[in-house]
Amino acid sequence: MKSEPAGRLDPRAKTLWRVTGTLGALPLLAGGALVSWVLLRVAELPLLLAVLPFLAAAVWLVALASVLPGLRWRRWHYEIRDDEVDLQRGILWVTRTLVPLARIQHVDTQSGPLQRRFGLATVVFYTAAGANRIPELSAPVAAGARDRIAELTREQDEL
């Protein structure tokens, strides 16, 4: 296959992922604490055993807040070629996706409130078999990517 796609996500993505990851994992942490409490007080397991669910949730949260965003960012590559969009992602399970421009029906940019705070946006492009996305590009880059995909798609249609 062609060499790794060249484009990278905006570096601010890592910070955003840390924030969203931490926020998303908080309920899990609370759940872990609850389970631990139940194990300790109701099931009366030894402290060392009962604390495990809470510990697991805490480790997961720390991982989401520290190393995982960096690894994820390092793996995420994209490239908009003349005939295809090339995506590569995944920390352990590495997925490489190729979407021909001629198959793309329309393309959007989206940005949630948090993303806007960081000046980031997601490019979403739709084929007849579902959507693909390039997340966390800086807003102007995302707009550029969207316009380029739209433009190239039109060219492909005219061929």
């Binding site: 995944g90 590495v94 190729l98 078999a129």
Partner: protein, 467 residues
């Protein structure tokens, strides 16, 4: 008009049944109450019939100016315009009541339409009118080459119909249906009756218990056959230029149109019970069509595997390829066997834990061990039947879940390709290849698990757009 009336009568009466019954129950069964309820039902029926007449009078349709117009609604008027270019299919359905009156229901679907309800439906047209409407709508899209009408590609014979039912493997579905029915039975009948029934029917020995299971299985099997007969009687696949027509159904007759240009992929499925007899069924993945996202339509329910190629040549020549599949590398076998035995190993561990807690020793869990061999065999089967080939711009993928399936999709229909590699796969230079095609409202996947990673890369590369 009659159909509309009957429909509304049936609908409002069925809504009336439960309050009526409750009323009866609460008041006891004296003749006065019964008469009152019957009178109520009569009033509801008359009103419903009148309403049906009104809504029949309010419904008009026409094809003009390149669009289909449908006007309906008694109180709130509703007018819908569907541009003919956007019409995906014109299907006709004939329910039992409609058959009594010799009319059909016409359903018009568009690409953007909702999954459950057709975008426009005309409850009762006579056959000739329906045919005229269909020609009018499809005529705008069809090149006026052939005028002799559709030619039949293949009909499902009676023997094949019953064979299809007998081997459909829907016994599981039928069994769950029976379970639901027996649940209902429990709810409806009083407790003492159920008690008596159980006392007379309860199995007294292992033999009778076995007998029950056997009878239940047989009953479920007959039910599965019955379901197939209902759905597929008179299954006829015909082709007219760029359109395929499917007619089927015993009581409710359905007629569906599939434009050839919308077929994204064809699947040849050899079910577990069918493969030994060399039989297969054919399905198509078709864009913006089918009841739901990712649902495929049956192109033909049962035919000998050897004749699939000939049928495809007649019906959808773009998909008529039968290359030898490239086998997976030997090193993939280990992963297949591992994957299929993992559930058994988990079960073994769980059983070990349970028997340790319950009996204080682990020996009982070994009862699970004999399952290991069939699980490994299943893994080997899946490995053997997995494969891929690329022939004249068409991707062919073999796989097995229960039955063996072969999927065929032309390169230009692939919406995206992907390779996925897990850390374990990376170590042994394997990868998973996935190609997506449009199907229904969403997509369907053609997947090869554990092919050599450079083969996966090559495949993704060579299926790309040509410039």
């Amino acid at each position: 008009m009659l159909i509309d009336a009957i429909r509304t009568i049936r609908r409002s009466l069925s809504a009336f049944v439960i309050p009526g019954v409750v009323f009866l129950m609460s008041r006891g069964f004296d003749p006065g109450t019964i008469a009152l309820v019957l009178l109520g039902a009569l009033v509801v029926a008359v009103l419903a019939a009148f309403w049906g007449f009104l809504s029949w009078r309010a419904t008009t349709y026409q094809v003009s100016g390149g669009a289909f117009h449908l006007r309906r609604g008694v109180v709130q008027k509703n007018e819908r315009t569907i541009p003919l270019d956007h019409v995906q299919s014109v299907d006709t359905v004939q329910g039992i009541i409609q058959r009594l009156f010799g009319v059909v229901e016409v359903r018009i679907e568009t690409a953007g339409g909702g999954a459950s309800e057709p975008d426009a439906s005309l409850q009762a047209l006579d056959r000739a009118e329906a045919e005229v409407l269909r020609r009018e709508i499809e005529g705008s899209r069809r090149e006026p080459v052939e005028e002799e009408g559709p030619t039949v590609v293949r009909r499902l014979g009676t023997r094949d119909l019953f064979l299809a039912g007998a081997t459909s493997g829907q016994i599981g579905v039928a069994i769950s249906l029976i379970a639901v029915a027996s649940q209902l039975f429990d709810d409806v009948f009083s407790e003492s009756l159920a008690q008596r029934l159980i006392e007379t029917l309860a199995p007294r020995s292992v033999t009778t218990a076995l007998l029950y299971v056997l009878v239940l299985g047989l009953f479920a099997w007959l039910l599965a056959i019955g379901g197939t007969v209902l759905a597929y009687t008179g299954f006829t696949l015909s082709r007219d230029g760029d359109f395929l027509y499917i007619r089927r159904g015993l009581l409710e007759r359905r007629e569906a149109t599939i434009p050839l240009a919308r077929i994204q992929a064809v699947r040849i499925v050899e079910g577990l019970l069918r493969q030994p007899f060399g039989l297969a069924s054919l399905r198509v993945e078709s864009a913006g069509y089918g009841e739901d996202a990712g649902v495929s339509t049956t192109l033909f329910p049962l035919l000998p595997r050897k004749e699939v190629q000939a049928l495809l040549l007649d019906a959808a020549p773009e998909f008529a390829v039968a290359p030898m599949l490239n086998a997976l590398p030997r090193r993939a076998l280990r992963r297949y066997v591992f994957r299929s035995t993992v559930p058994v190993l988990v079960l073994l561990a769980a059983a070990g834990l349970v028997s340790l807690l319950a009996f204080g020793f682990v020996v009982w869990s070994l009862a699970v061990l004999p399952l290991l061999l069939p699980a490994a065999f299943y893994g080997w089967l899946r490995y053997r039947d997995a494969g891929w080939a690329l022939e004249e711009d068409r991707l062919v993928v073999g796989s097995r879940l229960l039955g063996r399936a072969t999927a065929i999709a032309p390169r230009r229909r692939l919406q995206s390709r992907a390779t996925v590699q897990s850390p374990f796969q990376r170590r042994v230079r394997l990868a998973t290849f996935e190609a997506r095609v449009a199907s229904g409202g969403g997509g369907a996947e053609l997947r090869v698990t554990d092919l050599a990673s450079d083969a996966a890369d090559d495949l993704a590369e060579s299926l790309g757009p040509r410039t």
